[in-house]
Symmetry: C2
Subunit: 121 residues, 2 copies
């Protein structure tokens, strides 16, 4: 594991669909290991391992409720991903801007065409 920057661990943890599904589930509230394991066609230890990966990345923390170890989502690493994305944000905003402009132009063209057609009929 040995992750240099926290982002290494965070992105690696998020690269697995099982782990992303677990995070999505935790958005609805705390859940035990068995509850989290239920939707998946894999053994309980496998899920425990996924949870450890998420925990090591700081994406979840675990409490104690009798035998259960309820997991809860932690937001900090996700916030860091969001912050990392900032550098690139202008890129897709520019793209959407260009797309908007293009659509605007198409609409204008269509309008012009209709007007022309109407006159000629």
């Amino acid at each position: 594991m040995l992750s240099t920057s926290g982002l290494d661990a965070t992105f690696a943890a998020l690269a697995d669909p099982t782990r992303r599904a677990i995070l999505a589930r935790l958005l609805e509230g705390e859940a035990s290991v068995l509850e989290l394991a239920e939707p998946f066609a894999m053994s309980q230890p496998a899920v425990s391992k996924h949870l450890k990966v998420l925990e090591n990345a700081g994406l979840i923390t675990r409490g104690r409720d009798a035998q259960r170890r309820p997991c809860r989502i932690e937001v900090e690493p996700l916030s860091q991903v969001n912050h990392w994305l900032d550098r690139y944000r202008t890129l897709w905003e520019a793209k959407f801007q260009r797309l908007d402009t293009l659509l605007e132009e198409l609409k204008d063209e269509e309008k012009a065409m209709k007007a022309e057609g109407g006159n000629e009929a």
Copy 2:
């Protein structure tokens, strides 16, 4: 590699610091493989492999300029990561909101303290 959802490939690609550094470099404009390799203490084939991972994730595309294969950043996968984050965005916004409130309260307390001290002197 074999990535189900595009996010699998994207997050996996972003999990490596070398690859994130390459993307950051490409933010300044197109670059050849050798130019991209230059800052790193690793062989040219190693960098070529990283580029292939980025390319497979759709994070870069490559053109042709004589022998050079200039790489350029592609924004779509990053935009998808941003979109994926939307689900979680409220979480850290709520956290920052709580922090703001707390700081506000602290400031008020401080003000009250000063006022009290002034009256008693």
